[in-house]
Amino acid sequence: MTDTERAISVVVNGVPREATVPVRWLLSDALRHGLGLTGTHVGCEHGVCGSCTVLVDGQPTRSCLVLAVQMDGHEITTVEGLSRSDNRGGQVLHPIQEAFRECHALQCGFCTPGFLTTIAAGLDARDPSVEITDEEVDELVGGNLCRCTGYANIKKACRHAAARMRDAAATDVEAAR
């Protein structure tokens, strides 16, 4: 009736994976130790810092606050899965990844994966044709701790990425005409 180990099926960054996990493994343990996806960084390990945030079925979720066994049947996106194929053998970064690079939104980089997954999901979920507000940006970054940047450039990157996505959406509308 109860188990200490379970076989699970998950889709990680678009790839179906089968694994047997100890039930006391956190999702962050399974990603890093089990699958070798060390892009997910583990900071406080009790939900405060946000470094380990991944997307579960598209929703930002602390990977230190769910058990790996609970992910059976679910789809997980880590920072390694934010980029898209360019169909020519390369990868295209998500607009927020590009914006982080352009705006110098990281220094040591420890917190960056959690910011990228959280902000990418937030930007993807909103109507790109509407200009992003300061309140929205604060809400996007407010659950993640950064000890280097003072947030100024992270918020700048959010606005930058939102503007790029707005331009891209406008271009798409234009092209559809």
Partner: protein, 301 residues
């Protein structure tokens, strides 16, 4: 297979079950005895496991139990199932329409990533006096439905909360839902909290309900606080503002009354005196907002 290497893991060993029905969950809880613990959203429980402040022998994960994820908003109030995530309650216009405190309070629950997973009923069952939803259950005069092997019963908030992280539910039991009564007519609400960082545990928080009479005078004013007592408490502040016209009511006086009624503890983040000051300030501020809202609702009606 994964896990061949002995990687360091924070939680102490436990066994795991994910039953497919409430009855099955109660069977596992009964068979496993005192060491078994129900897991819903896990946003409070899993940190406790990782810090080894809790070491249950068995986790009974109810996430696969069907029928527990409903939000039912009716004229009497809003019933929230055990698997409704904070984010869904926050987004529910129907729930906010019947009881606006639900949206106001949920917006203050942690950060979006935590609201995506954490459940409203779970935070009530966790009975943390710094939790938003425990205070809202108390302020609205709500109740929970508890399933035990003996049947299902409704437990009012006053009988449910016994102390910090302690409820009257003992033995094999699953909290199935929470019921928040509707906001009465001619009433308004407000909710505010002070935290070191938005979304962190509140140093102090206040939820209030103001009800007016037909002459736009204050009929009643009540408040519940976060991080102030050992269990949620509802304080009646009508003595300070009752009978006063809503636009000139002595909200600051009600804040002073509240300051004398509460008995907070001091800790690393705030002294008891500072918390009393926050109670006075937040009470005055939220009552004024709630009074204005009550008036606006009366005029709209």
């Amino acid at each position: 297979m994964l896990g061949g290497d002995p990687h360091p893991v924070k939680p102490a060993p436990f066994s795991y079950a994910d039953p497919g029905s409430v009855e099955e969950a109660l069977d596992v809880l009964t068979a496993e005895g005192e060491g078994a613990k129900v897991l819903a959203g896990g946003q409070s429980l899993i940190p406790l496991l990782s810090m080894r402040l809790a070491a249950p022998t068995t986790l009974v994960d109810i996430n696969r139990v069907p029928g527990l994820d409903g939000i039912t908003a009716g004229p009497d109030g809003v019933r929230v199932g055990a698997l409704v995530r904070h984010a869904r309650l926050l987004a529910s216009a129907e729930a906010a329409g019947v009881q606006p405190l639900l949206r106001r309070a949920t917006a203050n629950v942690a950060h979006p990533a935590i609201r995506n997973r954490g459940t409203t009923v779970g935070s009530i069952a966790h009975a943390d006096p710094s939790g938003e939803m425990t205070a809202v259950l108390a302020l609205t005069g709500g109740s929970v439905t508890v399933a035990t092997p003996g049947g299902r019963e409704t437990v009012g908030w006053g009988d449910f909360f016994l102390g910090p992280l302690e409820t009257s539910v003992h033995g094999p039991a699953v909290v199935l839902d929470a019921f928040f009564p509707a906001l009465p007519e001619r009433s308004g609400t407000a909710f505010a909290e002070i935290a070191r960082r938005k979304g962190d545990y509140a140093v102090c928080g206040a939820g209030v309900v103001v009800t007016l009479d037909a002459d736009r005078r204050v009929e009643s004013a009540r408040a519940a606080y976060l991080s102030v007592g050992l269990v949620p408490e509802v304080h009646d502040l009508t003595d300070a503002v009752g009978g006063q016209p809503v636009d000139t009511a002595d909200w600051a006086g009600a804040g002073e009354l509240a300051r004398g009624l509460v008995d907070p503890d001091g800790d690393l983040h705030a002294s008891a005196d500072y918390r009393r000051l926050l109670v006075a300030t937040l009470t005055a501020r939220t009552l004024a907002d709630a009074g204005a809202e009550a008036l606006a609702r009366m005029e709209a009606a």
